[in-house]
Amino acid sequence: MALPAPLRASVTPTELELIASEQLVEIVPLVAMERTAFISGAYGPLRPPSKCKVPIWMATNLKLKKKCRIVPPDWLNVEFLEERLVQETTGESFSEMPFRFAEVAKVLIDTAPDDFPNPDKIRSLLKDIREARQAKSREGLSKLDHSELSLPNLCSMEINEIRPFFIRAMGVLIDIIKDAQPQQDIA
């Protein structure tokens, strides 16, 4: 195969970010624009100062041209994340987060830190949550089984990170467990 080994099993984080950028986010436009058709759909019209839903790629583009303010999603604030962090550190299972929260949070906070009340606090909370969740997926590793893996509420970036070696390890287990698959005749 022509692809380097790490790219065969998984997509790259940047590709996930691209996918996540199709999600809609609320903005407060600072310029007026008629409803406009894009390849992924028609968005607008933008009528300041009323809110409007556009994809993240469009919101970040407008934001960088200072043509809108981004309204943070309802899960991307200090109170919500603090509550989730407590759940994450006390409970056994993964707490429920939006599936692409890592990508969305990073893109929004990186491009529009001035639209968040406390961006540094949010960043450090996200980092804490990520580390707590990593510790749990590591735990899952020791319970690895050849036929199934159940880690509910794992989000896309985390799945992507562990996918290559989890599937390889499960593949090895299938090979070395007797009768995991129908016995093949070698001779």
């Binding site: 080994a5 893109v107 491009t111 590793l141 070696f165 390889r168 390890a169 090979d175 070395i176 007797k178």
Partner: protein, 199 residues
């Protein structure tokens, strides 16, 4: 490690010698043992490659003994502490200990095969978290030194960790590399700033 004819891993795993005791005399085949004898006599012990052993064993020309990679000593060491055994020493650098074990397992009958499988699984499970931990640890060291422009001088870790890394077999090395690559790319993404790329 699968039985695919074209699988390189499978070919590498077969590249191990196994001691066979011939039950019959084979004329003109003495060169297999590398000796000067012209014939292989019955009851003589010959080291043959695993890929050749199959046909000898299945055709009932020879019996085999469990290779030293899976001897009682190795087994009890693995039972005591899977992480302290150097698998790479047992099969040679880059060898496939699990693949070799799996092929031996297929040659054995039910009970012995079950025992072999249990040994392999227990060892793999016992070593896996350590393999992944170290790979992730190394990925983060490399990512941060690469960013700051410092070479890989800060590597090393303590002695036990290094010994463990050297003892990884081919399959574990592959896992190590996979983990390192994915952890590194994820970490890089988390640390990179977005603004420059978009504006």
């Amino acid at each position: 490690m699968e039985d695919d004819y074209y699988s390189i891993d499978s070919i590498l795993a077969e590249n191990q010698k196994i001691q066979c005791t011939f039950k019959v005399s084979v004329p003109d085949m003495g060169h297999l043992d590398g000796g000067n004898e012209r014939d292989i006599k019955a009851q003589s012990k010959v080291q043959v490659p695993l890929w050749m052993a199959y046909i000898l064993i299945y055709s009932d020309y020879a019996d085999f003994t469990i290779p030293t990679s899976f001897s009682a000593r190795v087994r009890s060491a693995l039972n005591a502490e899977p992480r302290s055994v150097r698998l790479s020493n047992l099969v040679g650098q880059g060898g496939m200990w699990y693949g070799f074990g799996r092929m031996i397992m297929h040659l054995l009958n039910d009970d012995a095969a079950k025992e072999m499988s249990d040994l392999l699984v227990k060892t793999f499970r016992g070593r896996l978290p350590e393999v992944i931990d170290q790979a992730q640890h190394f990925a983060s060291i490399h990512a941060s030194t690469a960013d700051s422009g410092v070479g890989g001088g800060a590597l090393g870790g303590d002695h036990a960790a290094m010994a463990f890394r050297e003892g990884l077999d081919g399959t574990e090395r592959e896992l190590f590399a996979l983990t390192q690559a994915s952890t590194r790319s994820t970490k890089r993404w988390y640390e990179a700033s977005d603004r420059g790329r978009r504006s």
